[in-house]
Symmetry: C2
Subunit: 334 residues, 2 copies
DNA sequence: TTGTACGCGTTATCAT
DNA sequence: ATGATAACGCGTACAA
């Protein structure tokens, strides 16, 4: 046993002492080695190894007013849609030297603004928010904190700060045009109750009504979407009307709808077409392959991370609103 | 405009000043209101509202040596298996007043030990690690930090500290016994290359060989598993041998295998049985419903959070190794 | 290139 | 029940 009770973690001072240097030099050797003589750096590294020193980011952040922490707020992660975005976000942030404080807001009792307030107590260098609809309280808190923010998964000309998203309404419209082009006239909606889905519906209905088609029938399902909800949802839709296409607010529902249809002896798309949303990884290889709307979910994470890190590090950026777009992929199911 | 340039966030002192109290009293009113006269608390709350004060957890953590931060390390999150665990973990931790620092180790270049070292610089109050196989460096860092740790998703009699998991080997054995009981004799494996899957395979092979059945044929697929890999994997298996059952290392692969089999005109399980793992949400409602091994992934998160929070807060616990078990659910596919 | 002095915003501790 | 004082461990600013 060398030191018996190292009851307290080694500090910069401990390292400095064993290296025979001042703590400031050690700090520099660790954070800005280019400002320190190589030999000295080596001595410091040696001392770090000996002491088992691990920097205290709490103290560092307090002193420097930079936490290298990004707070991320998402509604849910068992949703499948957000997971890729979060993973890319995390990877990209790690690459840039940031850690991710992840907050799943979904089932929390707190309002989003309370939640963000507690997150801000960590003094993150930036915040990622899902969606663009925030309470006045939330806006006030964020603007007051004067902290870089990226809103994701939605589009608006007036974001809080920066934004990476796409237009749900346009997706709805594109879907509507697709339906018309393919000759579908009796659409049924298998729809989740979230705001973004509602916007897609609006775009869809707008296009349909422009062509004299009334509001489609609809079955609502709760979040998170699942295969089971897709199956039961379709079953319910089939009792309503004689639809020729079912538009689903997610690929998961679409997969379930297809499964249910085929289990009843219907052939998709011959007897009933199905459209999904999201281009989840199973969509392309499903049988039948699911016609859906693809959005680059990873890209959202990547760009959000880059936008934030650049801003934090003072890199000039021309654009702070990024529309990553989408494309409708016609496959077999519709 | 009241105050024109609040260039710096309000501090405890600012609140104290506007409330006409000392900063210490404000701190107490916020953290331990029961030690402060109700009227005083009210005055403080008022001042907090006026100033828009948001506590600085960096400073608080530095002073109190408690960060109310839990670091969580997972290999991947687009894996579907871990997502529910993480979500529950996050929810449960939030309930207890902790934030989650999430680190997706999967594609990072850093070794797990470097990664944990940077996480420890945040001075988390606890750490959640996925798996039980760690480098000596990692172990040394963790033990040196003397920080509560929960390892999850695996079982060992000698965890670093606490553990919530289940026996992959036993799952393999249970699967093997199921195969034998159902009369399957020619098993093929559709398998991912992770350590836990390897352990399940080992248990499976052990049981089979005990009954005179040799090593099953196998096709390896990369992580993360997908429907597409399930389909192509089965296609490959079908060229090898005349299997009567395909054992998959995840439900996702199983779903793909079933789809591929049926697309070739085979009927599952009549012509070929398929078994999955995980009891993902689609397994029960798939057509045919997937026979699989269910583990309570949410429970892992819940218990890990509770174990950590209890330990941190000094609650006495009898057990620090929790085997959450599993059960094989026989459905239609095998 | 290295060192000194001080402050970051909070809580622990002791005193009143 | 409230206050005064001294850490907590580090980085900024400036000096040498």
């Amino acid at each position: 046993m060398k030191s018996s009770k190292p009851t307290r973690a080694p500090t910069l001072d401990d390292v400095a002492r064993t290296a025979g240097l001042s703590s400031m030099t050690v700090s520099r050797a660790l954070n800005t080695p280019q400002l320190v003589r190589p030999k000295t750096v080596e001595k410091v590294m040696q001392a770090v190894r000996v002491t088992g020193y691990i920097p205290n980011a709490l103290a560092g952040g307090l002193a420097s007013r930079r936490s290298r922490l990004i707070a991320v707020v998402v509604p849910q992660i068992n949703n499948n849609m957000f997971v890729d975005t979060i993973q890319t976000l995390s990877d990209e942030l790690a690459l840039r030297g940031y850690h991710m404080l992840l907050c799943v807001a979904g089932y929390t009792q707190q309002t989003e603004s309370e939640l963000v307030a507690t997150l801000l107590s960590r003094r993150p260098d930036g915040v990622v928010l899902t969606g663009i609809h925030h309470s006045p309280a939330l806006k006030k808190i964020i603007l007051n904190a004067a902290i870089p923010v990226v809103e994701i998964w939605d589009l608006t000309p007036t974001p809080l700060d920066m934004l990476v998203g796409f237009s749900h309404e346009k997706i709805g419209m594109a879907t509507g045009e697709f339906l018309l082009r393919k000759g579908y006239r009796r659409a049924g909606l298998l729809w989740t109750a979230d705001r973004r889905a509602a916007q897609r519906k609006q775009g869809l209905c707008e296009v349909l009504s422009r062509h004299g088609i009334g509001e489609p029938g609809q079955v609502d399902v709760p979040l998170p979407a699942s295969l089971a909800l897709g199956r039961s949802g379709l079953a319910q839709l089939l009792t309503q009307e004689n639809y020729d296409v079912i538009v689903c607010s997610s690929d998961t529902l679409a997969q379930g709808a297809i499964m249910e249809a085929e289990s009843r002896g219907m052939i998709v798309p011959r007897d009933l077409a199905v459209i999904g949303f999201g281009d989840l990884d199973f969509a392309a290889s499903n049988r039948p392959a699911i016609t859906t709307v693809s959005i680059d979910r990873r890209d959202i994470g990547c760009r959000a991370a880059t936008l934030l890190a650049d801003r934090i590090e003072g890199v000039e950026r021309d654009e702070s609103i990024i529309d990553i777009g989408f494309h409708l992929i016609e496959r077999e199911s519709a």
